[in-house]
């Protein structure tokens, strides 16, 4: 098939690239470098020759594990950097090339250093946090004690004054004893101080109360700012508590409870002097620690900075290496373990490039034996590869979304570039809306460089990806908008004044009654005088409906002609004679004729009723046409066309299965005579694929298949033509909607002569226009255009059962990852 390309100009997008299956035998010492060079070219799709092996049974599983480990280290660095707010510098100065071993050592060292620094600073941070907590405890608990003391002192004075007052009569003796006894007990009271997380303080108090049967006294006071917990390192709101208890058992219980609640305890001196001393001491140590920690942090930031400088480079290297080893794992290793055998698809044009790369790799790796490159013959279907650019890519995506073209099948993507935006525009004809969309997409296109490098949201990504589709859609809708003379449903006299004028002063604007033709026909598109007139709808409907049918028949014919090109290309005369020709006759005999009638009617201005003509062409073809006759001998022409169409149906249905059967029988018979034709190299490859090449020929299956095909085409010719009427329907809906928004919102608000109502009206109008017309209508017209392409157009010729060429390429790697 490759030689076929010689006679015609290259058809880059029309036929997918010619591919061949290549085998490369690579000496094991240059394998890595070779694959790496091939990855730079990115034009080979390697086949997995070890599919039956699980990932860790493969040859290079160890290396992949190493890469995964390196990637983990890099993720650790990235994590650390993002915590420390260090940005990896994008594409720093390309410094010395690392190889994997060096990188492994380097990263190991850096990781160890970083973890050590982290460990140290964590320790420091911990003691720092402890000190901060301690200081808080000292301050808060000190307040408790001071308060208590002052209150106690107040009580004391009260008591003593009472005593002084009451000394005379009532028994001072007993009271004295009591108070001394009290003091005696107080001495035995122990207390603990510390901090407990605020969220758990209630539960803490409850449990303390229960555990000691209420024999505790707990004071809590909340700390205003969140404290960093020394154990977890998280910011927590905490309460300072002082708990008084009596007895050793209670103490051990309280200690356990404190531990359970994560309450950190700190020693506390009762003596006020000591407290003050402690506070100053602790403050001193805090400031000391602070400087140490800062120094540590600075060191760490420096380290991260150096890592950040090379981070991108390293991670790219690791990604590349990993993909290289993944690829190497797909190659089968020779029994002697001296070379690797790779098989893969590559486009024929890349052969020279690949061979150069292989040579380069051999030289660079100082291998004594070069890699061997050979082409294998196979009957397997090669992958489909279209060389698209950023403009055609999105159109190709539209086609691929339906199904990837079979290898070298005619690609509807070529036509889609024009027909898709055009059909869209037929439904979305409004040059005002078109300009809005044009501006939006131009914005995207001008900022293309910026957007393509960054990650966008889901919807934004889709819009951005289809920016060139949208650009063409906008341009075409400006064009159709000019034809429809629609601008937010305001009529414009752009090209010349309207051809019609009032006969007298009495004629109103809203009707065509009283309008006479005063000038030449409006030169381009619909005359603005139609707008708002009573006969606007009947006129436009008739115009758009007929136009839809013309467009539809044209596009379906294109589809059938493409099936002819396919049949020619794949040398399949059966399809030409028994599929393409009867299909052409059938479609054009009925709907091609209808299109002809439409054009004739437009040109001659005849009053004939086309419905009537078409219906009675079937019901009573021999009747006289009467006033519906458009041209002489119309009846005879119709009879001939009808007969041809009737003949076309069995023509499509019957011969093809029988011919296929005969062909099959012939090849089968022939097979027993043919000598062994395969040469040595093709033999081994073909052996595996021979089986499904000559499967059983099931006549009934082929026949039923052809029957379905025929029925589908015959019914489809009617229903698909009808389906194109959506062009008219959506266009009508669009113009009616924009009329509603214009008249019922904008003009209505205008009529009130009130500035506020006007502003509200304008806002509603803008939102309705953007939301409903520009977004939703675009979407719906897009989907309908999509359907017309996928179903009505592509079912005429497109198989779409190929698979996409997925080469091993470093360029594709980076956006795949993350």
């Amino acid at each position: 098939m490759a030689e076929h390309g010689g006679c015609c100009p290259p058809m880059d997008l029309f036929r997918s690239e010619p591919m061949h299956l290549v085998q490369v035998i690579i000496p094991i010492e240059s394998a890595r470098l070779t694959v790496s060079y091939l990855g730079d070219i990115g034009l080979i799709q390697f086949k997995d020759l070890n599919a039956e092996k699980s990932p860790f049974q493969r040859t290079y599983a160890g290396q992949i594990k190493r890469c995964a480990e390196l990637a983990r280290k890099l993720r650790f660095f990235k994590d650390q950097m993002s915590k420390a707010d260090v940005k990896p510098s994008a594409k720093s100065d390309a410094k010395a090339e690392f190889n994997l071993d060096e990188l492994e050592v380097k990263l190991g060292e850096l990781e160890a250093e970083l973890t050590e620094i982290n460990g140290n600073s964590e320790k420091l941070q911990r003691s720092y946090n402890e000190l901060v907590e301690y200081k808080l405890v000292l301050q808060k608990a000190g307040e408790f004690f001071k308060e208590a003391q002052s209150r106690a002192a107040a009580q004391q004075t009260e008591v003593s004054s009472q005593q002084a007052a009451e000394e005379s009569l009532e028994t001072p003796l007993l009271k004295d004893q009591e108070s001394t006894a009290d003091q005696g007990k107080q001495v035995k009271l122990g207390f603990l101080t510390g901090l407990v997380p605020k969220g758990r303080s209630m539960a803490f108090e409850r449990i303390l109360f229960r555990a000691t049967r209420g024999n505790v006294f707990l004071r809590q006071s909340s700390v205003d700012e969140a404290v960093i917990d020394p154990n977890s390192g998280e910011k927590v709101e905490k309460n300072v508590f002082v708990v008084f208890f009596s007895g050793e058992r209670a103490k051990s219980k309280i200690l356990k409870i404190c531990e359970a609640f994560g309450a950190n305890r700190y020693p506390f001196a009762e003596d006020l002097g000591k407290q003050a001393q402690m506070i100053t001491e602790v403050s001193g140590r805090i400031s000391e620690l602070k400087t140490t920690i800062d120094a540590g942090l600075l060191h760490r930031a420096n380290l991260l900075e150096t890592i950040g400088n090379q981070y991108e480079q390293w991670s790219e290297l690791v990604r590349k290496e990993k993909s290289i080893y993944h690829t190497l794992n797909m190659l089968s290793i020779d029994v002697t373990k001296k070379c690797l055998v790779a098989e893969g698809w590559s486009p024929i044009f890349a052969t020279q490039q690949i061979q150069d790369a292989l040579q380069q790799a051999t030289v660079d790796s100082k291998s004594q034996v070069g890699a061997i490159f050979q082409v294998l013959h196979t009957k397997e279907l090669p992958p489909t590869y279209f060389r698209t650019n950023k403009f055609t890519e999105s159109f190709q995506t539209i086609v691929d979304a339906y199904g990837v073209a079979k290898y070298q099948e005619a690609n509807p993507g070529v036509y889609t570039v024009v027909t898709f935006p055009f059909l869209f525009a037929v439904m979305f004809g409004d040059w005002g809306h078109g300009i809005c969309i044009l501006l939006a997409t131009l914005f995207l296109i001008f900022r293309e460089k910026k957007y393509s490098s960054q990650k966008l949201g889901d919807i934004m990504e889709m819009t951005f990806g289809g920016r060139y589709v949208i650009l063409l859609m906008a341009l075409f809708s400006i064009y159709t908008g000019l034809i429809y003379n629609e601008f937010f449903s305001v009529p414009f006299e752009l090209f010349s004044p309207s051809a019609y004028a009032c006969r007298d002063a009495a004629c109103s604007e809203a009707t065509t009654i009283g309008l006479i033709k005063a000038r030449d026909t409006y030169p381009f598109g619909v005359d603005p005088a139609w707008h708002g007139s009573r006969s606007e709808l009947p006129f436009l409907n008739s115009l758009k409906m007929k136009m839809s049918i013309l467009l539809g028949v044209a596009q379906m014919n294109l589809g059938i002609i493409l099936s002819f090109f396919n049949a020619l290309y794949f040398r399949n005369p059966v399809n030409v004679w028994f599929q393409f020709i009867p299909q052409m006759i059938f479609l054009n005999g009925l709907f091609g004729y209808l299109s002809l009638l439409i054009i004739v009617k437009w040109c001659t201005g005849s009053q004939a009723d086309l419905y009537h003509v078409m219906i009675y062409m079937f019901l009573s073809p021999t009747d006289d046409l009467g006033e519906n006759q458009l041209f002489p001998n119309q009846k005879t022409v119709q009879l001939v066309l009808l007969l041809l169409s009737l003949i076309a149906v069995p023509w499509m249905l019957l011969p093809k299965p029988f011919i296929l059967k005969a062909q099959h029988n012939r090849t089968h018979q022939g097979q027993s005579y043919t000598p062994l034709e395969g040469t040595e190299d093709s033999l081994q490859v073909e052996a595996g694929h021979d089986a499904h090449g000559h499967g059983e020929f099931e006549f009934s299956e082929v026949f039923v298949h052809q029957l379905i095909h025929t029925i589908e085409f015959v019914l489809g010719a009617v229903s698909n033509t009808a389906s194109y009427l959506r062009l008219w329907a959506l266009s009508l809906a669009h113009s009616e909607l924009s009329t509603v928004f214009y008249e019922k919102v904008l003009l209505l608000a205008w009529g009130y002569n009130n500035i506020i109502i006007l502003i509200v009206g304008i806002i509603v109008f803008i939102f309705a226009t953007v939301g409903v017309l520009l977004v939703m209508e675009t979407l719906s017209a897009f989907l309908h255009a999509l359907r017309l392409h996928w179903v009505e157009f592509q079912n005429k010729f497109y198989e779409g059962d190929g698979y996409k060429f997925a080469p091993f390429s470093f360029a594709l790697l980076s956006d795949e990852d993350e």
Partner: protein, 351 residues
Amino acid sequence: MYGFEAMTFNIHGGYLEAIVRGHRSGLLTAADYNNLCQCETLDDIKMHLTATEYGPYLQNEPSPLHTTTIVEKCTLKLVDEYKHMLCQATEPLSTFLEYITYGHMIDNVVLIVTGTLHERDVQELLEKCHPLGMFDSIATLAVAQNMRELYRLVLVDTPLAPYFSECITSEDLDDMNIEIMRNTLYKAYLEDFYRFCQKLGGATAEIMSDLLAFEADRRAVNITINSIGTELTRDDRRKLYSSFGLLYPYGHEELAVCEDIDQVRGVMEKYPPYQSTFSKLSYGESQMLDKAFYEEEVKRLCLSFEQQFHYGVFFAYMRLREQEIRNLMWISECVAQNQKSRVHDSVVFIF
């Protein structure tokens, strides 16, 4: 309203059911297990698991791995999923989801109490607890000296409190007591869960009663087997059986008097659903019984996914994931200790 769940279930439960079914399709398959069983080192296991849903949890673990790390990370994934579902759930699903964790809570309580009894460090014990069964004051359990204190101090705040009503004694804690406490709690828990599911009605009740009945029966058999040869009296033993399930009440009468494993077998073989389980075991063997029960359980849990519009799938998913983690733990242990010949002994394939 039985049979009409389809009308209203999706209002509140639809999203979560979709989530849980999505999670279920992430469970490891037989092919995964086959690959895992071929692993030579823990790193191989990690490499394989990073290609599954466990990927994000394991990929950042530095290389000398331990079994505990793998299990911990896998459990973390389960816990994250559970928490997500709990956050999204509304009544009564949220209560249902909480019920699922009570079993772990009981286990944790028992773990801490036995641990402190044997004077282990509380922190160390806490690390061993199942994260699904954690509650705020769990560490305070160490303070308690007897059941009454245990209840009064700590458990009164937890959802387990009502289950305690049957086992408040002032006896000091010892191993036997604790084991009895565990089973009493579990019995009360299962009965409560069962009642709750019955109250929910519909397909949930139907499916959950089947699953819980199996759970109850399995516990009954285990209690019987474990108490053979101990000083537990027959009446005490019978008190530990849950009051529902296929064996209730006649099977319990018979189990209560069993004196060896073959008698248990005799009792169980009268019940058709358990016949197949027991017929797989050779006489006098109780080692493989656990595995047989696990297999039976997994089968039933998987079946619950065949029906829609009920809460049983949440229970089933949690259980299946736990089984998977047990499998992973076993495989990792076998690999770590070079006992690869035993790797198939206790792995229960889920699909």
